[in-house]
């Protein structure tokens, strides 16, 4: 069965296809630059909060790595951690248990975090909505290109969004679908244009620096719950030392 080809005006390429791509790339660049400018510089955490987190981390690593200790060392440290985790010595701040829950909302730290989240979301959604409206307004129902390879019918809803012709060959792409393809496919282009590898390196460096749990932040668990849970974990810990029979092990690995 040979269906006659749909003849596409070559001018479509210059006036619809490329403009959509260019606009999206430029707006994407603009957006990431504005987000960068809006980003608040990373704030230094108070030393008390850091102390609390680091202590929790120390307790947690005792839990996982206690095999490097001998039996006596293990017992001494176990008692120490249980005692400290059950006291309030390492709390960043001691809270009233019967505090008004509404007062949390006026906490400045909380507000900052919420504000940052809101900013990020706004910067993500507004430009996308604007471009989509623009494409829909000017190029609604356009068939902009024909793919050079055949596809199955399953791609119809993806490639021919916004055209009400159920029998059209799947190889034709509508303008709004081209917009979506760009939306998801332009990430590598951005990282190429903005030197993404360096940014990634910075990002991973920051993540390495603070693998600390988020205590008492928005949505985070409360410190006393965490400390109690950790104390219980340590209470039931059993100990096996890595030095048990180590001489035999080493000698064996050399076949002596």
């Amino acid at each position: 069965m040979i269906t006659p080809d749909l003849l596409l005006d070559p001018q479509l390429k210059y006036w619809v296809l490329l403009p959509i791509s260019f606009v999206m790339v430029f707006i994407g660049l603009l957006r990431s630059n504005i987000t960068f400018l809006l980003q608040a510089p990373p704030k230094l955490e108070g030393f008390k909060a850091v102390r609390e987190k680091q202590f929790l981390r120390r307790a947690a690593s005792f839990k996982t790595n206690n095999q490097v200790l001998t039996e006596e060392e293990f017992e001494v440290r176990k008692q120490y951690f249980i005692e400290k985790l059950n006291s309030t010595d390492f709390y960043a701040k001691i809270e009233d248990s019967n505090q008004d829950p509404m007062s949390q909302l006026t906490d400045p730290g909380m507000n900052d975090a919420l504000m940052n989240m809101a900013k990020g979301n706004v910067m993500n959604f507004i430009p996308q909505t604007v471009i989509m409206a623009w494409v829909n307004y000017f190029f609604a129902g356009f068939v902009v290109m024909k793919l050079p390879f055949p596809l199955t019918d399953g791609f119809k809803s993806m490639l021919q969004n916004g055209i009400a012709t159920p029998d059209l060959n799947v190889r034709y792409v509508s303008s709004i679908s081209w917009y979506f393809v760009n939306l998801f496919g332009l990430r590598p282009v951005y990282s190429l244009l903005m030197g993404g590898s360096e940014a990634d390196a910075l990002m991973s460096q920051q993540q390495q620096q603070s693998p600390l749990p988020n205590i008492g932040g928005p949505g985070g668990p409360k410190v006393d719950k965490l400390f109690k849970a950790e104390a219980e974990n340590i209470q039931i810990l059993s100990h096996e030392s890595v030095f048990e029979g180590i001489a035999e092990r080493v000698l064996e690995s050399y076949g002596v």
């Binding site: 102390r51 490097v68 180590i246 080493v250 690995s253 050399y254």
Partner: protein, 308 residues
């Protein structure tokens, strides 16, 4: 892979590992020249992280080699290119070092204690209580380190510093505690296992010197220190079997005179096991040492193991 990339990797490794802090003066000079030449030729090919690290290295080397003018100019360059928000603790740390080195200790102190949340700077502040002339007089310093560790319980570098300070004044049990604290958070840090072993061994030497009686329970107590030293050295070997110093320690322990005294205590099970494996460990470590350490360096390394 071109030579220039190899050189870059090496310099970056030196910068990030901090190896320059233990360089001999010859090495400082050599690296100073090498780095200067490298930066002259290929600054453009570096990304900003690499550039920062290398400038930092250049600053340290210049400061150590008493080239204050160059150190100042590197510092200004760092501030120019990276210090836009004036908040970087790393740059402030360098500034304070410069002030300290040029004798303006008060100003350095002022810079460091401005904000208690800047822990990197508070850490540097602890070193101001160190007696730079007599390393054994470090009571204040240890007190400050402990205070800092109470605030930052998982700062491994400070634990290592504390361990070494204790080791200097012969508090080997406390040194071992500090090093074990590192191992708890980094259970594969084999050089630290070696340090633990070494401190157990020093502890043993210290106790042995004070040993007056030949009573059985005393000897068992001492043998425990020796066994612990051996076990930690073996753990280091287990993770990294080219760690020559650790093999040497095993050899020394297995050939120690004290083992003869122990042979009378065959009835205790631990000691019997220890003596049986000792002989085999001696042979193995002899082979390994002859593989790893060249003949002419052996005496030198041995001398380092003596109790100071």
């Amino acid at each position: 892979m071109s030579d220039i990339t190899l050189l870059k990797n090496k310099l970056l490794l030196v910068a990030s590992s901090g190896a320059f802090a233990n360089f001999s003066p010859e090495q400082v000079k050599e690296y100073n020249d090498e780095l200067e030449h490298f930066l002259l030729v290929s600054t453009d090919s570096l990304d900003s992280i690499e550039l920062f690290n290398l400038y930092e290295l250049e600053f340290y080397l210049a400061l150590i080699s008493k080239n204050d003018i160059k150190a100042k100019s590197v510092l200004d360059r760092l501030l120019d290119q990276f210090g836009s928000n004036k908040k970087s603790q790393r740059i402030k740390l360098l500034q304070s070092l410069f002030l300290e080195a040029t004798g303006e200790r008060d100003q350095a102190t002022k810079l460091l204690e401005k904000n208690p949340d800047e822990m990197l700077l508070s850490r540097r502040l602890t070193t101001f209580s160190r007696n730079n002339d007599d390393e054994k007089d470090n009571e204040d310093y240890i007190y400050n380190l402990i205070f800092y560790l109470d605030l930052q319980p998982s700062d491994l570098v400070t634990w290592a510093e504390l361990g070494d300070e204790y080791s200097k004044i012969g508090h080997y049990d406390k040194a071992i505690f500090s090093f074990k604290e590192i191992l708890l958070q980094d259970p594969y840090a084999y050089p630290v296992f070696y340090k633990v072993a070494l401190n157990y061994y020093y502890n043993f030497l210290q106790e042995e010197k004070n040993l007056k009686t030949e009573r059985k329970d005393k000897l068992v107590e001492l043998s425990e220190l020796l066994i612990n030293a051996r076990d930690n050295a073996l753990r280091c070997i287990e993770i990294c079997d080219v760690y020559a110093k650790s093999w040497l320690l095993i050899y020394i322990i297995s050939t120690h005179k004290f083992n003869e005294k122990l042979s009378k205590l065959d009835s205790v099970k631990e000691i019997k096991d220890y003596l049986v494996t000792n002989e085999r460990l001696r042979k193995l470590s002899e082979i390994k040492i002859s593989e790893l350490i060249p003949e002419d360096e052996r005496a030198n390394v041995l001398a380092q193991l003596q109790l100071k």
